[in-house]
Symmetry: D2
């Protein structure tokens, strides 16, 4: 695994836990953790449960006992590592957003296509697809329970930098992060809605907004919460918020919004889908619930149902606890690891593929483009 911050911890927990709840055809071994700083990586390996650590990820690609490379670094390094790993014959699980530019994403998708011919698999880490409630949402749409889809309404609302005193971090640096709310959390709602609908966004028009353009510099080596102030400030080079309208290939219209300035919303990935036969609503802040309106019911007793997606028959749920016992944030990563391992072992292509990741990247690029031209852009 490369990277050991927030995502590194989530992925480690997934690898650790998956084999104890799911029947896996092969048992993953947590062998090597890679990071930039030797000492900090060694400490992280100890804490996260990896057998070894190194600051040289390239050397790991030469090892025969490593079969999977899991990339949890900032977006500017994804392309290089992923392509090298695939060429070295390693299966790759890459965090989202897949890349910081369409060009990088194209190169990665091409590398993945070449690798697939040799039986080497690649997958992008849009983990929220594996939240049981969102998997169920996809199933209901696929079963036709919503009919023809008219509307998509998707928001990813956070507030962690609403305070102007919150320091600059790599996530606010265009070089490292590619974009701000758009790529970080906007990417999730693009992927999640396309996944649920089984459809793709065809054109968009949007706008980007940076509310606070200058922020205190944090001292070196401090993480997100490391606020040892230096007295200096630096420019925010990414968007704080991204809003866009979209049209899907299948005829639905969509309204999207990603922001880090929605005061009081901590992690509110909210999706509503309205179809001719029914509707769905989801909020990640209440992640074990899917709201479903069945429009074919007798109007006297019709209403949005609060489905507690914790029944044995629900996606992924049977492996865990009895009905009604909720799952948390990191369980989706465990499901992702399970599906990835199974695909690799069974020789099938895991989803979302790098081609899917590229398509999301194209949507994000079209939003950025439209924000500049102030017109609709084809994806």
């Amino acid at each position: 695994m490369v990277g050991h911050a927030f995502m590194g911890a989530a992925h480690s927990q997934a690898w650790r836990v998956a084999p104890h709840f799911f029947d896996l055809p092969v048992r993953p071994v947590m062998s090597v953790l890679c990071g930039r700083d030797t000492e900090r990586t060694a400490a992280a390996a100890e804490r996260l449960g990896w057998a070894e650590s190194t600051s040289d990820w390239k050397s790991v690609l030469e090892r025969d006992d490593v079969h999977v490379v899991d990339i949890c670094t900032p977006g500017d390094t994804h392309a290089e590592i992923a392509i090298a790993a695939l060429e070295a014959g390693k299966h790759v699980l890459c965090e989202k957003p897949m890349a910081n530019s369409v060009a990088e994403a194209v190169a990665m998708a091409e590398a993945a296509a070449r690798a697939a011919e040799r039986g080497v698999r690649a997958m992008v880490g849009f983990s929220y697809r594996r939240v049981p409630a969102l998997s169920l949402a996809r199933d209901l749409v696929a079963q036709g329970r919503l009919g023809r889809i008219h509307h998509v309404r998707a928001q990813y609302l956070q507030d962690w930098i609403v305070d102007p005193a919150a320091p600059l971090s790599w996530r606010l640096d265009k070089e490292k992060a590619g974009s701000g709310a758009l790529g970080d959390i906007g990417a999730h709602i693009v992927d999640a809605t396309q996944f649920i609908l089984g459809d793709t966004i065809r054109e968009v028009t949007g706008t980007l907004q940076t509310f606070v353009s200058e922020r205190p510099l944090a001292s070196a080596h401090s993480g997100l919460s490391g606020t040892a102030a230096t007295g200096q400030t630096g420019p925010v080079t990414v968007d704080d918020a991204a809003l866009f309208l979209a049209r899907f290939a299948g005829g639905a219209v969509g309204s999207f919004e990603a922001t880090r300035f929605a005061n009081g919303r901590k992690n509110a990935l909210r999706i509503e889908v309205n179809g001719s036969a029914g509707s769905l609503a989801f909020d990640l802040e209440d992640m074990n619930v899917l709201q479903f309106f069945d429009g074919t019911e007798d109007p006297a007793v019709a209403g949005y149902r609060r489905i507690l997606v914790t029944e044995p028959g629900h996606p992924y749920v049977d492996a865990w606890w009895p009905a009604g016992h909720g799952l948390g944030y990191e369980h989706a990563f465990t499901h992702q690891a399970v599906d990835f391992v199974r695909a690799v072992a069974e020789g099938t292509d895991p989803a979302p593929s790098f081609a899917d990741g590229l398509q999301v990247q194209c949507v994000l690029a079209a939003v950025e483009e439209s924000a500049g031209t102030r017109t609709w852009q084809q994806v």
Copy 2:
């Protein structure tokens, strides 16, 4: 109409509005308002829209142009007025609780029975039966959508005297009010649950609690909000809260609670019913909604449905606004007036009858008794 405080205003609004939304066989005329104080009653008549006023309710019973007597006074006067009105051949609508004692209620029920033989009707004002969501709840149970009923869970939570500085009012005086939370709001949940189930409570065990036993005296003639302090205090002679367990004739067990000390709950009449085939939940603070769980559905998509009880097919709703346009507190009084007028005009017995009111009184009396003996009491 006798009485012109809170209930007087609600009833006046009902008589005023009903004929403009509902087809009524006869059109009610708001002729005379009765009160204790001549001047204040005249002012109230002007404000509430009554043609005349008087401080002598007995004289009204002699008038030929008065056909209905609507009693909105404190409970200690209900029996005398209602019995006299029924004997004078006037149809009677009497606010709840019907009386301050079982003995009074028995006398009233007997008077109503005698009057019914002469075609004179009597009804108790348990208005919440006419909230569309609760009427729908009753319908669903009657249709068997809940199967065999196992559980009733009913609370009426308010907080208007949680502040020990809130003054004594007639509602805290056992002489006037009969009891406290038990008779004032506990009566509502007893009636509402029995109404929804179409069943009666057979035995109870309960406890009463007065948290603040001494309160400031308000100056004379001040109402609920009249807090011109006198510096003196007086004893609270009723319960602040009443809790009891119940067993219904049909086999359900129930848990009941009425309190004026539930900080932050302003008017939370909450009812849940669990049956072998489904469940219901209601909260008066969200009064246009009925939650319904259909236990016969596929577990994959089962969940409590938030039915917005504002569809044209829902009870009483068609007379009002298009779907989705909510009703308020006083609409239930309008529905009550409509049903009462129709019953009188059609020569049928309105419900809840005085016999129903007596039965509720017996439940309340059994709760009080059990609070003293600390054992279960038959109703």
Copy 3:
């Protein structure tokens, strides 16, 4: 009053009820109802409580005993009636949307300006401003409780024509209605958000969508629910849904959506506002509630508060019932009537003025324009 359908009934209820709950400087008298069809108007006058009726609204303008004209007709007639009434010296309350075109709205605003010089008042019926929870929202923003506003998120979601078999009505006819969801319900969220923020929309980009372009013709004289099918169909000439992004003069970005195809949402006018110091959220389907997040609180106990806007100190509430007793849809019309009567009697300008109505019309026109040009439009 001119017009006696849905809005006519709502306005009639307002005039009837207002003087019984609010202290008014003058008492309104419901004198003449105007409609196109003599017989049907007479029946409506009887039902709605008007003393007389006529099919000739112009004759009413000549009467000395008529001081106020209340316009509840479809939008294509507003300009003519309102301007004539103002010129005849009558105070005018005009339903929204104020007009079907900017040109008409300009003429009306000019007429209102001229009339104001003579002490004649004009007001547009954006009734939702008078829902207590939205009045409270405005107050909180004005008090600075939200700080600098970053985000507005507004949706008006209905579903009454999601069924392709729902018949054509005047609301689907561009000649009569001007536009579809945009003008009918989109106008409400434009007015409501501008009202709450005390700010105006400066530019927009949007898209319009008609999902069902052909619908059955209903037989003549049938209303919204009159579905006596004729076997013939006709074209839908308005939008079923309107989506747009907006930028406010004060720097906030907004996402707006109005649709009649949100299956299961009956009357969901939903507004969220995020500011640097706090946030608000409202849903008309739960209209007695305002959600408020105070971002200045200790994070350990911060959270969206569900304010039940039924306390005596809340806007308009004191006139009604004790705390916790909810209001319904039509109460906002009563509040509107009260504020209008008071402004007229006191000789002040009621809000929203015809100039405000014109400004909303300009926003709607800019949205339509942007939907054609596919670029941002200045308002």
Copy 4:
């Protein structure tokens, strides 16, 4: 660890995960799993991640490399194992309910007291205390944010045997389980409310109910979901539901209900506490949320706050994910393991102690007693 069913899996996950998120003074090693059946225990050890397995738990007590015994078996075996383990000098974590009778619980508490003198620790597994929202609830009460406590309202609602065809399991057998809903889930609300209040229940009156008295026998070795029907039925010897009223030593009154027949409620442990200064509400089906009403706020903006208990400052949360990323059911077990390990390492007494477990047992026994005598019982 002894036992490897539902609780065994939850405890295993806790031991596995705890050291990777929390700084622990010693690192737990998952050495031996004990069960009745050699083969099934070995398979469970493999799946759950234990190094060895055995069907002889007594032999484990003799091992020097085992320092902690974690008891996850049915209640009828707790006393024997726990007492033996404590006498062998092993620290003991024992699942709830601590025992099947007060006599057993007394013996266990005495053994724990003796062990404590030798520095050997004992703790009962009331894991819900460690749900962050409930820990926060306790903190708020302890800080006086609720003032004097008036009301407790606690329900534990499930529905897993509402179907009469659900088979007999050991949980429906009085010999094995001691009681039904009362001991299984009623015990949780007794402990949780006493924990939150920092107070104890002094007297109770209650009733027990078995709705379905005969059920199909499942075939041998089948678990909860093992429904290989045998065609035979057997008697249900425990309660399906338990309801009781309670009085706390500090003056609060309480209403309690535990049931397995609340159709549609899957795992609804709901607690409300009303005090003179504020109120709390919690529902395990939305376990990352605590509702808090601050009664000292300006009434104009007061309301129940939905606190998302996922902020870094909330109990236990800092060890996990960024704000807004929710935890699931099993995280409470991890927190329990962490607190237990720390107490053992630091030589302090973990809570809840065996004395606390005994006190809960006494409350349950008083409820059972009162159900028989139909009168209030002192605890």
